[in-house]
């Protein structure tokens, strides 16, 4: 039958005018189709043979093709129908921020992504770094299995060894560590430092001699997670590296270890450059920048080449001040950061001192220093309120913002990643309540703020804000519909829509699967 059909197709391609159509044989012969050797004859044969082909179709034998080995089973439970449908909607709409949130909530629940949607998630994450970062910790053996079959997803191949679910995270074995890509190794290190910093450090040390300088610099920077006194030895080793970027990465971390030899050298230098003297007029700072850079200073990454607009001595002083731990200054001088800032205005080296202190404060996330800088705006030139705030520990930052509602701005909030604390959400919510009812003189700023808040306000704030949407009765916090300024109505509506989707994401993922 099959060969008859293909003979007929061949005849049809050239046309009945040029080739005689083969007449059906076998059972079809009894139909006595038109014997005219013309178009109609060919068509009659095609009619009979095409129907016969369909009715008698047998798929070809494909036992020879090899099927892939099954993926390792994944013991984690998966999600219910509603959550699955939500994921499909978010994927179709390409809403990366909401996908990140969906995946994060999934991971918090210790669940695995729905199998059938994993390819679409992997494809979306291939083009979005933020989604990839969120997705990697929740990937299991199925992702590795798929990644092995599709080179575009090879970045997902390393994940299961590191995660296999959040709880199972631990240091990868040496084989995995040595064979993965640069990016995958950085991710493995990050995960391993979170659970077992010592074992993770051993991995870095084991391949130190053979890794490229790019790897070495990235791995040293990766030790910032779970940094402790035990890391000093490896960091000192990195300080002798031939490459500047490796040394700088190590110096940055050593400065954060107050008991380290590096910090000891740094405070000695700082103490000799800056002294507190008592005079009849009160205490004041005596600043004597070193005349030149010693070998020891050069070894600790202090350079003599200032950025444009800064003098050489001021630059050296700034670095000397900056590498000493921020908290050391308070002990050393017996003065508060605010007092030190005030005194600095009375020396000719004030700008360099404050630049150094602000560097140290941000690096060490030193709350008293950061608060002092926030309270004296402009004290450190070129240091924005947003960068000071984002270095501040969350509780202190949120408290400061509560007292300074004028600083609750898009530029500041943008630096604070989701999820926001309940306290911060509360502060932002009050701010929103204030701006949506008033004439938003800066409506671009307000619209951006609303959009940001839509994605980052945390769940309790969602509930209260959403209630503000309900007429009648006095609105809980936010104004009722009538009070929303028309220029912000569109943004307000999309804020509420986004918040309700986020609430639904949590609700649906909290539901048990249907079975």
């Amino acid at each position: 039958m099959t060969s008859q059909w293909s003979e007929l197709v061949d005849a049809a391609v050239v046309g009945a005018g040029r080739a005689a159509a083969p007449q059906p044989a076998g059972p079809l012969a009894s139909l006595r189709l038109s014997d005219a050797q013309d178009g109609a004859g060919l068509l009659a044969a095609a009619a009979a043979a095409s129907r016969a082909r369909r009715a008698g179709f047998r798929p070809p034998d494909m036992q020879a093709r090899t099927a892939p080995e099954p993926a390792d089973p994944d013991g984690r439970r998966t999600v219910g129908v509603a959550a699955r449908r939500r994921l499909a909607e978010l994927l179709a709409a390409g809403s990366t921020e909401l996908l990140v949130e969906w995946v994060s909530v999934l991971g918090e629940g210790g669940m695995r992504p729905p199998d059938a949607h994993l390819p679409a998630l992997l494809t979306a994450a291939t083009y979005s770094e933020s989604l990839r970062d969120a997705l990697l910790p929740v990937l299991g053996p199925l992702a590795a299995w798929l990644a092995a079959a599709n080179p575009a997803w090879s970045w997902a191949g390393a994940a299961p060894a590191a995660s296999g679910g959040v709880a199972a995270a631990g240091p990868p074995d040496m084989d995995t560590w040595t064979t993965q890509s640069h990016r995958a190794r950085r991710e493995l290190l990050e995960l391993a430092r979170q659970t077992d910093p010592a074992a993770a450090r051993e991995l870095v040390a084991a391949t130190w001699a053979s890794d490229s300088h790019r790897d070495r610099a990235a791995f040293i920077a990766g030790l910032a997670t779970g940094l402790g006194p035990d890391d000093e030895e490896l960091l000192e080793r990195a300080m002798k590296d031939t490459r500047g970027e490796v040394r700088r990465a190590a110096a940055d971390l050593l400065a954060r270890l107050p008991a380290s030899r590096f910090a000891g050298r740094a405070t000695e230098r700082a103490a000799s450059a800056v002294q507190v003297q008592r005079a009849i007029t009160g205490r004041h700072l005596v600043v004597t920048p070193p005349a030149d850079i010693t070998d020891e200073m050069a070894g600790d990454c202090i350079t003599g080449s200032p950025p444009a607009g800064t003098g050489r001595q001021a630059w050296v002083l700034q670095q000397i001040v900056a590498v000493a731990p921020a908290s050391w200054w308070v002990q050393y001088a017996g003065l508060s950061p605010a007092q030190l800032l005030t005194m600095s205005t009375r020396t000719e080296w004030g700008t360099a001192l404050r630049a150094g202190w602000s560097d140290a404060a941000i690096r060490d996330a030193d709350a008293p220093w950061l608060a002092a800088f926030l309270d004296s705006p402009g004290a450190a030139p070129g240091v924005s309120e947003a960068s000071l705030l984002s270095a501040l520990p969350a509780a202190a930052r949120d408290g400061w913002l509560r007292q300074h509602p004028d600083s609750v701005r898009f530029a500041t909030l943008e630096e604070i990643p989701a999820p926001w604390s309940a306290a911060l959400s509360e502060v932002v919510r009050s701010k929103i309540a204030a701006i949506v009812s008033a004439d938003p003189g800066r409506s671009v700023e307000s619209r951006r703020l609303l959009r940001l808040a839509a994605l980052r306000l945390n769940p309790p704030a969602i509930a209260v804000l959403a209630r503000g949407d309900e007429p009648p009765g006095p609105p809980a916090v936010a104004p009722g519909e009538a009070q929303i300024h028309p220029r912000l109505l569109e943004s307000w509506a999309s804020l509420l829509a986004t918040l309700s989707v986020r609430a639904a994401i949590r609700r649906e993922l909290a539901e048990e699967p249907a079975s």
């Binding site: 068509l43 009619a47 798929p59 099927a67 129908v81 059938a116 299995w145 798929l146 109505l489």
Partner: protein, 454 residues
């Protein structure tokens, strides 16, 4: 009062942009005077303009109206309104005058065509002689069309498929239009499909087979029409449907066969070519084992009837259209809500699944797209032999327990979805079969709960 699910409402969207914009409208702060009663839902929506838009939807047929300037039906405001309704956010209220006026005007328009047939009240059909004359006149037009098409087909076959494939679109389109003039929309559809095969021949190496298959079916249709009096009833019904004779939904619901069951939606395909939106669903009756297809079309301002909720099973009564197989059905009556899909139906291997398709062909030889359900098949990803790019790698395939395999012709995303769902283990699959390849619609880990995959 009519209830919708969010998915159903979004399924009514005329295009992706409207579906995306709709949730932003479904926010109570935007709306005033929201209300509903047994016949309609309404509200005033604050848009970008100064005055709010008056927006309403009627439950009888899903029609909507909105005073906004959008030319989409339903517009994003109407979709937003229906989403609010789906979320239970619209309170019962007394209908305002503008809604009553709209509903009354619609009712008047709907009745007008019925007015010329006052004889109906007497129980006798309206002027049977006139009806017979009209039917005979249409048959004569179709006769002429079929004759013209037969000659054109014979010419095509004489010149050869290679020559036909090189013809411009207008050559096919002209013949398709002639068939529409002859009131044979079905024949026009065949010609358009032939044109499509010609146009996409570059991507399908098997185009001559597909084209000859369609030519054979079309020729059989023409031949059967000329001998229609000698053809037994069920096949004659199929013939008339395939030619393009349609039955009104009202006639079907009055006289068609009714089946009540829990219907699982095992396929859901929405398409929009800019002029016509269409929806095709495959419905599987869990206790009767019947498979029917639900089709809905909407042009311009018409709302698209949403069918049953995709990916769920819902208690409903469907009415079968006589004619082509598998039966087209309309949904007469449905319960609210639905349960997630259970295990999928299926034959143990391809051969048995395909023999079901052969049974359909025995009655309706033009049944070219049929559902196939098979259990425990293995997904075979494309083979790319090491050390070189083959001319045509083996495509994605589904291999059954006996080792026989059919190709998958869906978009690659669908195949990857199946692959991930299977993870190298057997799965149950329900899909469309077009005589050459399979287009999976629903799948489940063997014996597990089904889900839509296309």
């Amino acid at each position: 009062m009519q209830t919708y699910t969010r998915a159903q409402v979004l399924g009514m969207a005329p295009d992706a942009a409207a579906a995306k914009a709709a949730p932003g409208q479904a926010v109570r702060a935007r709306w005033r005077e929201l209300g509903r009663d047994d016949d309609a839902v309404w509200g005033e929506c604050q848009g970008s303009g100064a005055s709010p838009y008056q927006c309403a939807a009627a439950f009888s047929d899903g029609a909507t109206r909105c005073s906004c300037p959008s030319r989409k039906f339903p517009c994003k405001h109407a979709l937003g309104l229906l989403l609010l309704l789906a979320d239970g956010d619209v309170p019962p209220a007394t209908r305002p005058d503008w809604v009553t006026e709209w509903l009354t005007a619609r009712a008047a328009r709907a009745e007008r065509p019925a007015r010329p047939a006052p004889a109906e009240g007497t129980g006798a059909p309206a002027d049977p002689q006139a009806q017979a004359r009209r039917a005979a006149s249409r048959d004569r037009k179709v006769d002429a069309g079929v004759e013209e098409l037969s000659r054109w087909l014979a010419d095509l076959a004489r010149g050869g498929l290679a020559a036909a494939q090189a013809q411009p679109w207008s050559w096919w389109d002209q013949m398709a239009r002639r068939m529409i003039d002859a009131q044979a929309r079905g024949l026009a559809g065949y010609v358009r499909r032939l044109a499509e095969i010609a146009a996409t021949s570059g991507q399908r190496p098997d185009w001559p087979e597909r084209m000859l298959d369609q030519l054979g079916a079309l020729y059989l249709l023409c031949e059967a029409w000329t001998r229609r009096d000698a053809i037994p009833a069920p096949t004659a019904d199929a013939l008339r449907t395939r030619i393009g004779y349609t039955q009104s939904a009202a006639d079907v619901s009055a006289s068609g066969q009714r089946i009540s069951d829990e219907w699982a939606v095992l396929g859901h395909r929405y398409s929009d070519d800019g002029q016509l939106r269409s929806l095709r669903q495959w419905l599987y009756g869990e206790s009767t084992g019947t498979i029917v297809t639900y089709l809905a079309f909407a042009a311009g301002s018409m709302p698209l009837e949403p069918g049953l909720p995709p990916g769920l099973r819902t208690q409903a009564t469907v009415v079968l259209y006589p004619g082509s197989l598998p039966h087209r059905a309309l949904i007469a009556d449905r319960a609210d809500g639905g349960r997630p899909l259970g295990p999928l139906p299926g034959a143990p291997d391809w051969e048995q699944a395909l023999s079901g398709a052969a049974d359909l062909l025995a009655v309706d030889p033009w049944a070219d797209v049929v559902p196939l359900a098979v259990r425990e098949v293995t997904v075979l990803p494309p083979d790319v032999p090491a050390g070189g790019i083959p001319a045509s790698p083996d495509p994605w395939q589904l291999r059954d327990r006996t080792g026989r395999a059919v190709p998958i012709a869906s978009a690659p995303e669908v195949s990857w979805r199946l692959h991930a769902l299977a993870a190298g283990r057997p799965i149950d699959v329900v899909g469309e079969w077009d005589g050459f390849a399979c287009y999976p619609q629903a799948a489940a880990p063997a014996g597990g709960e089904g889900q839509l995959v296309a």
